[in-house]
Structure formats: structure tokens, C-alpha cells
């Protein structure tokens, strides 16, 4: 007889329950094989569910989580017979976001899960195993007596730092469990290389590169920057490389003017390793005395650069360092290698890029210089909004097309010609999301509730926002187009939409979700463009009906800009670009 198990995932930032993705479901099955190698077959009962958790829940009702888990398990179990194992998976969240108090109260009531599920083994997967001495750790140990009495087992696994087993059934984990589990979960989670790739934003502007040797300048339209919060990925990847190149040097010289996360990672490495010296390369080159001291002590340095493309800057640094009697290690580490793939040779050196990109075609004549447009900074965005040159560059590159028929608001006339926003989001979506997030963060929006119409393009924008901001920080509630249409039919009176039997159930779920997630946080309506504002009005009325506080309407392009920058109902209307092109009249 196969052994039966139930598995649930708890995910911060979800607005509603959804099935666990298949990769994670497979991971759960593999984990059971790892822990119970003698069991021939495992049978999963019920569906697979992600239990949504909001920041409000974490702050105000942390002890309700166990109630939700038990309720879900009850729904999954077909009958009252005992099952072998229950898996509760928190590992897809960050430890910091989960809050210690939530985990502590969860373990305080963990025995209720045994009672509800009638399981013998309970596996709790956390982003990090509670440390000895912490409240959660003590809670886990306190279960020992009761688990021994009932011959049950509790296994707590941390993604990176070990595990805890409390067993009253004589269960003994295999010796290699820690290492094997880390490998298993690493295959599931995004690898640091992938995470770093997803944190690299390509920005548009008028960027100037100066050749440090000759002083000559050339212009670029793209600049790369990494989002904050990827120092861990930089540290992991650099440490990995460092370990493989032990004989590199104890002197690291870096040029990371526009890369705070990598700089932070290097400083963190220096703090952990005695004898490692980490300095800015300009501080050495511009100060002969300091250079002499370093040359006397180290003789050789490892260069760490932000972006390597033509190699001119690298060559210039090497010459100037060698003039100062400091040799350069033959491998150079770059955050972004734009020379020829991630790893490439250059002039006797090997460039190891943590991320690779194609080289940019340099223009013989810069059209932005010819227009007299000012330069923009590699470090910061010059403006909240997008410049006209950049918007039109994106539009030209992605093309123009008629408005997709399904995006035309009910009762309105179609735009015959608009930028192709699908392609624009595909090519430049990261930068667009970055700019929207920058605006919201400027207004201290930490965890906004995003409400958006269920159109394909709006969905694409929100997915980009979640990818850039982090799913945990951004709860998004989709409002189906059928509901928006229904609302417009009744003058945006959502009470009447709810009364309609065709829409009642869907509307009730929507309203419950908004009521649950919308208290104690501000809501932001996100859309692709403002044509007539009809979608916005419907969603504003919905938020009013649910008693949610609306902060603003945000879109990429406002095709009917006004002086006041307000919606029809008088709330802030924020757009990344104003482009006068009102919707044709019916």
C-alpha cells in the first residue's frame, strides 16, 4: 500500500489561493524519498495548495495561520483515516518577511496540525532553520514530550542552515540529510546566477563614456544597473569564484561606481576574511604614496569592475597600476561582461563576468548630441518620467500597431495606431517596472495593494512589477474584464454587479480579497495607458465600495494628459509619459 501525504505551501504576497507549481510539487515528492528511502511509493492526496498570507495577517493575526492550515488540510483529506506525512512549505518566502513572531506562534500550535491531519510525520520547510536559543527553537523542543508520548515526528528543514528533528517514533534522519536537502532545494529555487540576471535592469538615456587614457568620449543609449537587494547573490557568486582561485591576491581593487550591491558584497567579504584588503582603484591611482605602500605589501592585485565592454578602461587601469609597480592578476572579475559573452579573453587577461550581455553598437554620430540633449547619469534616473527621446526610441524599436480589440474598453472606439506595448514590455519591461516602483517608493509605499484590469497588457505590467519588486512585497488583485464591463453597464455601481447572479460568486471573491488585503495599506490602480479613463473609474468605484484607501492611478502612457494630473474622481493620476492622443470619439 502506498503511503499517503498532504502538502501545502504558505506564500506571502498572494492575494488568493492557487495551486502549487508542478516543480515544487515534484520537490515535495523527492524530499519524501530522501527522508524515507524504505518507503516504496508515496501517494499525494487532495490537491496542492498555496495558502495566501498577507503582511496584515503577519502583523495582526499571526496565530491564525495554523487555523488556515488546519482548515485546508481538512478540505484535502478524503476521510478521517490517518496519513503518513504532512508537508507545510514556507521555503518560498524570505525569512525576514515571515517575521519571527509568526513562526513562533505557528510552532506554539503545531500539535493542532497533527490532530487535524492525523499524520505521523510533519515536515516543516523554512527559509532558515530557527537558531538555537531563539523562541521558535525553544517551542520546537517543547513539543518533544508530547511527540514522544504519541510516537510522532517533527522535522524542520532550513534552506541553507541545517535541520531539526524531534522524534518520538524512533525516526532517524539519514546522515547526509543536510547536504542532500540543500542540493534539492537549490535545484528548486532560482540559482544565484539566475537571480542576478533578473536583477539587472537595462536603462535608456544619453550616457557618456570617457576613455580614461585619451579623454575621448563616446555615447551610449543603454546603461545597466543592478537593483538593490542582490548583494547576497554577488557575495555568493564572487565567493564561489574566489574559492576556486585561491592564489589570486589578497588585494582587491574595484571600480564599482554604479554598483552598490557588489560593493557591499566585497566589503562584507573583507569583513569576514582577515588579511583581505579591498580598495577603490581611483584611490590608488590618484595617490602615488598610497600606491607605493600597497605595491610594497602586495605586488599583485585582483581587479573587480562593473562593466567590461571594449576593454579600454581595463587596459588603462592595468597600465597605470603597472606604472605603480602593482601587477594585475590575469583573471578580472566583472559584474557585467559585454565583450563577448560571460567569460572571454582580452589582451592576455580572462574576463569572468557574473552576467553576460551583448556589446552595444556605438554610433559614429550621436543623434542625441546633435540634438543638444543633455547627458544622463549612469547612477540615477534623471527624471521620474521617461524622456521623449527614450519613449520614441522604444516605440520605434518595438513598432506601432492598432490597439488590440480585446483591450478596447466597452463602448469606446479603437485606437488605430499605438506603440506596441506587448513588445515594449517584453524588451523594456524591467526598466518600466523599475520606474513605476521608484515613483511609488518615493511616496513611501512599502507594501501597496495593486489592483489592475484583467487585460493581457496590464497583467504583463503587474508581473514585471512583482518580478522587480518581489512577490512578497507586492500583492496584486486582478479584476476580470467581464466584471469591469458589468460594472460599466450599471454605472459602476458595484453593489448591483454583486447582485447579478452571473457575476455574484466572482464578485464576492473579489470583494473578499480586497477587504482582506486592502485594510491598513494603500491601493494603487495599475494600467498600461490612459485613453479615456473608463477602466480607472470602474476600479476606483470598486475600491470605494470595498472601503479601500486609494493612493493613485499609475500607467505607462497618459494619452489624454491634463494640467491637474487627476483621475475623473479627483485622485492622483501618475504616468511615466504624457503623449497627447485622446481616444477617438464614438
Amino acid at each position: 500500500m502506498p503511503e499517503e501525504y498532504v502538502s501545502l505551501e504558505v506564500r506571502l504576497g498572494l492575494s488568493t489561493s492557487k495551486p502549487v507549481d508542478s516543480k515544487r510539487a515534484e520537490f515535495h515528492a523527492e524530499l519524501l524519498k530522501l527522508l524515507f528511502p524504505k518507503t516504496k511509493r508515496w501517494h499525494h492526496i487532495g490537491g496542492t495548495h498555496c495558502i495566501p498570507l498577507s503582511h496584515h495577517d503577519c502583523d495582526w493575526n499571526p496565530d491564525e495561520l495554523v487555523v488556515k492550515v488546519c482548515k485546508t488540510i481538512q478540505q484535502e483529506k478524503v476521510d478521517d483515516r490517518a496519513i503518513s506525512c504532512c508537508i507545510i512549505d514556507f521555503s518560498g518566502n524570505s525569512w525576514v518577511s515571515l517575521r519571527e513572531v509568526l513562526i513562533d506562534l505557528f510552532f506554539k500550535r503545531v500539535l493542532e496540525i497533527y490532530k487535524t491531519s492525523s499524520c505521523r510525520h510533519l515536515l516543516i520547510l523554512l527559509p532558515r532553520c530557527p537558531l538555537a536559543g531563539s523562541l521558535s527553537y525553544d517551542r520546537i523542543l517543547h513539543t518533544q514530550a508530547e511527540l514522544e508520548e504519541k510516537k510522532l515526528t517533527l522535522v524542520v528543514l532550513g534552506s541553507s542552515n541545517g535541520y531539526l528533528v524531534v522524534s518520538g517514533s524512533g525516526f532517524a534522519p539519514p546522515e547526509w540529510l543536510g547536504v542532500a536537502y540543500v542540493k534539492l532545494i537549490r535545484d528548486l529555487l532560482e540559482r544565484p546566477e539566475q537571480k542576478l540576471e533578473s536583477k539587472l535592469i537595462r536603462r535608456l538615456g544619453h550616457f557618456r563614456t570617457i576613455d580614461t587614457e585619451t579623454g575621448e568620449g563616446s555615447c551610449r543609449i543603454y546603461s545597466y544597473c543592478f537593483l538593490e537587494g542582490c548583494d547576497h547573490e554577488f557575495l555568493t557568486l564572487f565567493t564561489r569564484w574566489w574559492r576556486a582561485h585561491q592564489g589570486a591576491s589578497d588585494l582587491i581593487l574595484f571600480d564599482l561606481k554604479n554598483n552598490n550591491p557588489f560593493r557591499t558584497a566585497l566589503v562584507s567579504l573583507r569583513d569576514k576574511r582577515r588579511g583581505l584588503k579591498v580598495e577603490r582603484i581611483d584611490d590608488v591611482i590618484d595617490n602615488d604614496e598610497f600606491a607605493r605602500q600597497l605595491a610594497a605589501q602586495y605586488h599583485k592585485c585582483l581587479l573587480v569592475l562593473d562593466v567590461v565592454e571594449s576593454g579600454k578602461t581595463l587596459r588603462s587601469y592595468v597600465i597605470r597600476l603597472q606604472d605603480r609597480k602593482i601587477d594585475v592578476y590575469p583573471q578580472v572579475v566583472a559584474a557585467v561582461n559585454k565583450a563577448a559573452g560571460k567569460d572571454s579573453p582580452f589582451d592576455g587577461f580572462r574576463i569572468k563576468g557574473l552576467v553576460g550581455r551583448n556589446p552595444e553598437v556605438r554610433m559614429a554620430v550621436c543623434s542625441q548630441c546633435a540634438l543638444g540633449l543633455p547627458f544622463t547619469s549612469d547612477e540615477t534616473e534623471p527624471y521620474d518620467r521617461i524622456r521623449a527621446f527614450d519613449m520614441l526610441t522604444m516605440a520605434k524599436h518595438c513598432g506601432y500597431a492598432p490597439e488590440p480589440q480585446e483591450e478596447v474598453p466597452y463602448g469606446q472606439k479603437r485606437y488605430e495606431c499605438l506603440p506596441d506595448f506587448d513588445k515594449m514590455l517584453e524588451e523594456y519591461g524591467d526598466w518600466i517596472a523599475y520606474k513605476i516602483i521608484s515613483i511609488l517608493r518615493k511616496e513611501n509605499m512599502a507594501f501597496p495593494l495593486i489592483v489592475y484590469p484583467g487585460e493581457a497588457q496590464s497583467t504583463a505590467v503587474v508581473e514585471r512589477l512583482q518580478k522587480t519588486w518581489g512577490e512578497e512585497s507586492l500583492i496584486a488583485v486582478r479584476v476580470d474584464q467581464s466584471l469591469v464591463r458589468a460594472a460599466k453597464d450599471v454605472g459602476n455601481e458595484w453593489a448591483r454587479v454583486r447582485e447579478n447572479p452571473d457575476h455574484r460568486e466572482q464578485c464576492n471573491t473579489l470583494v473578499d480579497t480586497l477587504l482582506n488585503h486592502g485594510k491598513d495599506t494603500s491601493s494603487v490602480i495599475v494600467d498600461v495607458y490612459w485613453g479615456s479613463g473608463s477602466n480607472c473609474t470602474s476600479l476606483e468605484r470598486l475600491l470605494d465600495y470595498c472601503g479601500c484607501n486609494m493612493f493613485a492611478y499609475v500607467c505607462i502612457v497618459d494619452f489624454d494628459p491634463s494640467e491637474s494630473d487627476l483621475t475623473h474622481l479627483g485622485r492622483p493620476r501618475l504616468s511615466l509619459y504624457k503623449w497627447y492622443n485622446p481616444r477617438p470619439k464614438v
Binding site: 570617457i210 585619451t214 547627458f375 547612477e379 527624471y383 521623449a388 520614441l392 495606431c417 494630473d565
Partner: protein, 369 residues
């Protein structure tokens, strides 16, 4: 909640650029795109000042003409470029640098990474201008416009500065050049930067009766000082001589003038920085009177030349911050040779000082240029 955005003029320039690219495409989609761009451009132009609006109206009309009509328009000698001169079409740059003689211009061009004999990027009735950028360790590169007066004395210099300020929106102007120095205080190759400009020509000619009863004309000095802005002076004070010397060495190598480095005297610092007042008039001092001025009029005087009063007054009149860097090429005495081998060396010293100042110690007020 107000979101920041680029200025309307720059957005109009960008739209016009893409309109030009689209102009010769004839399919339906291109026509739709053109309509989209023109509608937006027309609306933006509505926010400009009347003179700029007039230019854009002409531009739009001109650009929408069929090709052959547009060519005929150009052949008549009237183009949008001519109209552009009448409108306030100022391009935004961070810093303007003014040079007077050829050696000064060459030194500045070398400092900015350009060829010393490079042709100007703009050469029209408004002036001759070279564009460059200065990279910085933190922040975006500074955008630079350089101009060349080509004639000595205050008035030509003032005219050039005024023309440059009419053509460019600048945050600061710098004068980089050579001057005679007060021998008691400075040596050849040193650089003096200005606390103030002392215009010694400002005087009153009066009739004075001598004991003999004869009336003679006498010159009564009326000291006229133009002080540099306090915040600019504070920023320049942070300059380190070592950093300037390092820069000078690099520029000398870049200029292919290694021999300049051989002029270092063992044990002596070859480029020192001095703050002080710069005496400016309408004459080239070669009679030793600079020393006298230092001793008898103002013991803060460190250098003298014939352009700085026009420069500083033209800048101050437009409320633009300014600073002067003068490399000392001689002492304004009878021993001063007509062609001085120190001219280029002194100009390069001044250029190195200005470059080091802008690179490390000056911050633009504007968020982006």
C-alpha cells in the same frame, strides 16, 4: 504629487528628430505614426515662449512640405536655421570655458581629451564652440562648452562671454589662460585663481592745480572690484596641489610635451597654487607696474592681464558664477620676451587646475544636464 520630467524644449527636439526619420516613409502605418507625433508636438509647443513657438510653427510647416518644395525652400536661402538664431534656443551645458589666445585654447582642448587642432563643433555667427565632457568619480559627466575670443582686452572678451551665455544655459563659466605674475609672490608655471578681479582702469581724470598755478590732468584711482562667488571660492580652496601636478603630468604626456616635465627643478615644487586678486585693464603690462600695483594699491594682487574684467562683468551681469585660472608665464617686466616659451606651459598648468577643480570639487546644482 508632482513628477519630475525633462523640459518641454528637449522633448520637442526629440519628437522632431523622430518626425524627420519618419518623413520619407509613405505607407499607411507611417502616416498614422506621423499624425501621432505631430499631434503631441503641437500640444507641447503650446507651452513654449512665443519666439520658440514661432520657430516650431515654421519647422512643422517646413517639415511637412513635399520633398521638392522643401528643397526649393532651402535654395531660396531661407531655412529654419536662420530663424533659429532669433529665438531663445539655448542648449543646456554645465560649464563654459573661455580662452583668449591660441595656446590657451590648445591647452584646454588637450585637457578635455580633444585634439589641440580640432575644428569647432559649432562655428556660426553666435560664436565658435567646442563640446566636451569631463568624467567624474561620482555623478554624471559634466558637459562643457569651450569658446575662443581670439582678441585681447576686456571688451572683446565681454562680447564673447555674452554671446556664449545667449547661446547656452550654463551654471558656471571659467576663464583659463595665462597672465603676468607678481614676482615677489609667484613664479613661472604657478597658477593663480581669482578671489576677485581688480579693474585698475576705473579712474577719474581730474584737473589739479599745481603750485605754479598750472592745471594738469591727474588720474584718481577708483578701485573697482568684482568678487568671485563665495561658494565657488570655497570649492576651489579644496584643491590639492599634488592632484593638480598629477593632472599636469598626464596632460603634458598627452600633449606629447615630455620636455615640460624636465623643467622640474630638483627640490622645488614646480606648480604651486595661489589665490589672489587679478588686476585687469586695457593694457599689456610690460613695464614692471604690476609689482608696483601689488606694493602700493593692493597686496592681494597676484597676477595681471587685460581680459578678466570684461569676463567677470559679463558673467556677473547674467548672474552666472565664474572663476579664473591663470598660469603665470612672465612677470610683466621689461625682461618679458615677446614670444615666451612659457606660454603653453603656463596655459597647460591653468587647464590642469581647472580640470582638477571641475572633476573633483564642483557639483552642478541641476539634477541632470
Amino acid at each position: 504629487m508632482k513628477l519630475s520630467e525633462e523640459n518641454t524644449l528637449n522633448s520637442c527636439l526629440a519628437i522632431a528628430h523622430y518626425l524627420r526619420q519618419n518623413r520619407d516613409e509613405n505607407d499607411k502605418n507611417a502616416e498614422n505614426v506621423r499624425g501621432l507625433l505631430i499631434k503631441d508636438l503641437v500640444r507641447r509647443v503650446g507651452y513654449l515662449e512665443p519666439a520658440d513657438k514661432a520657430f516650431w510653427a515654421l519647422f512643422l510647416w517646413h517639415d511637412l512640405l513635399p520633398n521638392d518644395a522643401r528643397l526649393a525652400f532651402a535654395n531660396s536661402g531661407l531655412t529654419t536655421d536662420e530663424v533659429r538664431r532669433f529665438v531663445r534656443f539655448r542648449r543646456k551645458k554645465d560649464i563654459g570655458i573661455v580662452t583668449v589666445i591660441a595656446e590657451e585654447l590648445e591647452a584646454v582642448l588637450i585637457a578635455l581629451g580633444k585634439d589641440r587642432n580640432s575644428l569647432p563643433d559649432v562655428d556660426d555667427p553666435t560664436g565658435r564652440y567646442w563640446f566636451a565632457a569631463i568624467p567624474r568619480n561620482e555623478g554624471r559627466p559634466l558637459s562643457i562648452v569651450v569658446t575662443y575670443v581670439g582678441a585681447p582686452r576686456n571688451v572683446p572678451c565681454a562680447i564673447t562671454v555674452s554671446q556664449m551665455l545667449a547661446a547656452f544655459e550654463l551654471e558656471m563659466v571659467c576663464m583659463v589662460g595665462i597672465a603676468a605674475g607678481v614676482q615677489a609672490k609667484v613664479k613661472q608655471g604657478d597658477v593663480v585663481w581669482s578671489l576677485a578681479v581688480y579693474d585698475y582702469e576705473h579712474c577719474r581724470l581730474e584737473l589739479q592745480k599745481k603750485e605754479t598755478g598750472e592745471k594738469v590732468s591727474v588720474r584718481r584711482e577708483r578701485p573697482y572690484y568684482q568678487p568671485a562667488a563665495r561658494q565657488v571660492v570655497a570649492a576651489v580652496r579644496r584643491l590639492k596641489e599634488e592632484a593638480v601636478r598629477t593632472c599636469f603630468r598626464e596632460l603634458a604626456l598627452r600633449a606629447g610635451q615630455d620636455t615640460l616635465l624636465n623643467q622640474e627643478t630638483a627640490g622645488e615644487e614646480y606648480l604651486s597654487l595661489h589665490d589672489g586678486n587679478i588686476a585687469a585693464g586695457e593694457v599689456l603690462i610690460a613695464d614692471g607696474s604690476l609689482q608696483t600695483m601689488y606694493e602700493e594699491v593692493d597686496n592681494l594682487i597676484r597676477a595681471g592681464d587685460e581680459d578678466d574684467s570684461g569676463f567677470s562683468q559679463a558673467a556677473s551681469d547674467q548672474e552666472i558664477d565664474w572663476m579664473i585660472f591663470r598660469g603665470i608665464s612672465d612677470y610683466g617686466d621689461p625682461d618679458k620676451p615677446k614670444k615666451n616659451e612659457w606660454h603653453f606651459r603656463a596655459a597647460l598648468s591653468a587647464a590642469a587646475t581647472c580640470l582638477t577643480f571641475l572633476k573633483f570639487h564642483w557639483r552642478p546644482r541641476q539634477a541632470a544636464v
